[in-house]
Subunit: 493 residues, 2 copies
């Protein structure tokens, strides 16, 4: 194993360090000179682009259009919606001036005191306020509805403790903001977009998720209901991977957005918002990867196949180059992305370790003996198994293999998750079980007080009230009061 | 003509008002609640997405990868490169605090004085500084070079006078930042990317451009050479549409980025940067549009064809719907994007005017008589001409027509531009001619003083020293001193 790989901490020793090592060593991202802000490196960004492209197609298929709203939000906008301000006004980047000048007492630059803004601007932590202030001018009648708009943007939340992809001061995301004539239509939209997220997570990220609704405590600030998809990482912790909010008429009331309905009456507009972010990169990494490095689902890998030549001299290399080009052309004709790495300054062993670290789903090796026998060595990243096969029909074999890998890593993640969901019936048992990780299905009396107590004592939160599964009533594990149904408790990222 | 269209100012009366009206009425963009920041509306953003997708493909074909760097730049970074600070530190958004709190004396929010940043952060006006600070850690040896990275991002420059798309405080752009082992390679890269921009402008935007190099006065702050593409708008003014900079070793020196070359010697890295922005939207609008509204090149239109049904009753509509669906399927199979507008609450005349205003290249109308005769009415947006044809083979007719429209609007713009390039030989003549607009080819003595004098007296600047064209020496039109060759003077956006 190459030296670089040895430096990757093992998951069982220190999961958190393993994650950090992997993000850095697989060239996905790194910390920048600006506290809490990351640099997303080309290999990491290529995965994010695949995520974006796929989600964007799914948004468009469901009737949404993209638009772009300002980065800055006037300070006063944030305090218009009473709950929203509590959630988002606390830690944010505040622009107070619009000019620098040479330091009159030194050599550097200082803020020009004459360039103070009349009203401070906040770098958007989320865009409900600026968008609903805009929608006010777009909506007069029910004929102007629905508005189905999404934006791909950067947002800033001043986080005290940051971790690459999982929690950064600046992150990239999409935020959908829709406006509707009826409550029913808005609720249906919020649920539809949660379905889109769940489909994307399972089909493309190969990551099983549980769909559900958040408790009042865990809701988005300003929402009447927050729907969520929750995934389980390999350390048994939950990662909230996407949320969709039914906002009721809260933002319409805060920004006075009304419309004339079919009965010719003035009414406030109904709203949703929904988003996923570069946090999905963290979810992707932690769902599938192992102590050898990243494991990428073929559907999101920047390149699905890598070909490495093994040769002793230039003559051999030229012959292998020609064969590799033939194979590449065949693979590309089936829509498979492939990289041929015939760079001369690295040994095959180094390349094998490198592409293992980078999670390339399939690695092909072509050597002198393969040339003689018309064979090729095929290595799977997910199972770390190898086999040698005839080159004839290799392209359709690999196409099927990529589908199999996609299905296999999904199944592996699903099995792990299912094996780590447990019913727990007493708070005593809960305190023991929560230390083992996983999702605990427990009865809860529905009060924020009990939720708070559990959180303070065990660091576990209610991840969601799942849409599916057992809906039998019972008694709260903490208070013994009536419980409508079991909910999911877990420690979370 | 519909009421909305009448409200569009005519170009001959007030070109600037016409532009403003058109951007608003064609639903491209609008001003936001934040001074100088625009909202890009879905129809405008759909054009920008086409621009992005095409450019992104071209960047990738030329070996570039995307990445993402922080929105914020530490204040001290800006003063590291001596010229850069002059150009970019003046008008910028300065983040000084990271928290708001409830106003102790009122109901709103105030900046929390305890949350003052140790060092102020600048919202990026351009990213050379933060990127070269990052590259320092990526580059050790010539084997790490070249780095060919691009980023799609928002940037902020605190503009005093703003105009939608042309000059806004926040705008969207791409910025390429490359690092090379040799001066020659960096210079070749800067020129290659100018070629990419020129090809994109001419082939996709149908906008002829003149390639050239900027004078020292007009160079990017920190560059050794700035290459530019300059387009002529319909009022005869120039619009700088894309620039590519050869940065020499300036940023490598400022951020101490060195590498070990093949001769095992330490050397500073060579750099380029290059960018185009949402300003291209302004260029696109002003190159082709007319007093009836937008004229879009088929290559960038959100939808290339619109079908409008003309009917008296539901029975007719159902028959037309069926026929329209057949036509749409045929068009889509040829890769043509098409919208069928059978909404019931607008008259055909209103729809005709609306799609004319929005610049849809081809409009098809299907009426009861067409159904009888198996015909369809085809209207071209560029020439405003109509004809009725058999539906048989309509798809290949339209495919050819779209190509013809793309070529025709390019030719029209090229003819206009060529008719408005004039040689001028005396400064007296210049002062008269510049009032008529257009590009003036004049001899210039090569000094910034003469450039400055001309600018102060006539508002004209040297747009570029063109790569192509007459290279005969002569005498400066102002000073009579020797001139190496004619350069292009114009008033500019």
């Amino acid at each position: 194993m190459a030296k670089e790989l040895k430096e990757l901490e093992s998951r069982s020793v220190d999961y958190s360090q393993w994650y950090q090592d992997l993000v850095i060593k697989a060239d996905l991202a790194e910390n920048s000179a600006v506290r809490g802000c990351m640099v997303i490196k080309p290999y990491g960004y290529a995965i994010w682009e695949k995520i974006q492209r796929q989600l964007d197609d799914m948004f468009k298929e469901t009737g949404h259009q993209n638009a772009y709203f300002p980065l800055f939000i006037p300070k006063s906008f944030l305090s218009r919606e009473a709950e929203h301000v509590e959630g988002f006004a606390k830690e944010c980047a505040v622009v107070t001036h619009h000019r620098l000048m040479k330091d009159p007492n030194g050599t550097g630059l200082v803020v020009d005191p004459d360039a103070k803004l009349e009203e401070e601007l906040i770098v958007r932590p989320t865009s409900e306020t600026i968008i609903w202030n805009t929608y006010k001018n777009w909506i007069t009648s029910y004929r102007d509805l629905p508005i189905l708009v999404n934006q791909w943007a950067n947002v800033v939340r001043w986080e005290m403790r940051t971790r690459l992809f999982l929690r950064t001061t600046e992150f990239l995301w999409q935020e959908g903001h829709t406006a509707h004539a009826t409550r029913e239509e808005a609720e249906a939209e919020a649920q539809k977009m949660l379905e889109v997220y769940a489909t994307f997570a399972e089909k493309f990220m190969a990551m099983p998720v549980i769909k559900g609704v958040k408790t009042a405590t865990e809701r988005f600030a300003g929402a009447l209901d927050t729907y969520t998809i929750e995934a389980m990482m390999q350390d048994g912790k939950a990662l909230q991977s996407g949320t969709s909010h039914f906002l009721g008429q809260n933002f319409a009331k805060a920004f006075d957005v009304t419309f004339v309905n079919k009965d010719n009456k003035q009414e406030y507009v109904w709203a949703t918002s929904w988003g996923v972010s570069t946090r999905l990169m963290g979810a992707l990494i932690m769902t599938h990867s192992d102590d050898n490095g990243l494991v990428l689902p073929p559907a999101l890998a920047p390149f699905q196949v890598v070909i490495v030549p093994i040769y002793k001299n230039n003559e051999q290399l030229h012959a292998i180059d020609a064969k590799a080009n033939q194979i590449m052309a065949k693979l590309k004709s089936l829509g498979i992305s492939v990289k041929y790495d015939n760079t001369d300054n690295k040994k095959p062993g180094w390349k094998f370790a490198e592409y293992e670290l980078k999670g390339v789903p399939v690695r092909l090796a072509l050597g002198a003996r393969d040339m003689e026998n018309n064979t090729i060595e095929i290595a799977r990243r997910d199972t770390l198994t190898k086999e040698t096969r005839s080159i004839d029909g290799i392209e359709s074999f690999i196409k099927d293999l990529l589908d199999e890998i996609q299905a296999n890593i999904y199944k592996k993640a699903l099995d792990y998750r299912n094996a780590n969901i447990r019913e727990v019936n007493s708070y005593e048992e809960f305190k023991v079980e929560i230390e083992k990780g996983g999702f605990l299905l427990c009865h809860w009396d529905g009060t924020p007080e009990t939720e708070e107590l559990v959180k303070n004592e065990t660091k576990a939160t209610i991840r969601c009230i799942p849409f599916e599964g057992d809906k039998t009533p019972g008694k709260c594990m903490v208070t013994g009061k009536p419980s409508a149904r079991r909910v999911i408790f877990a420690r979370a990222y």
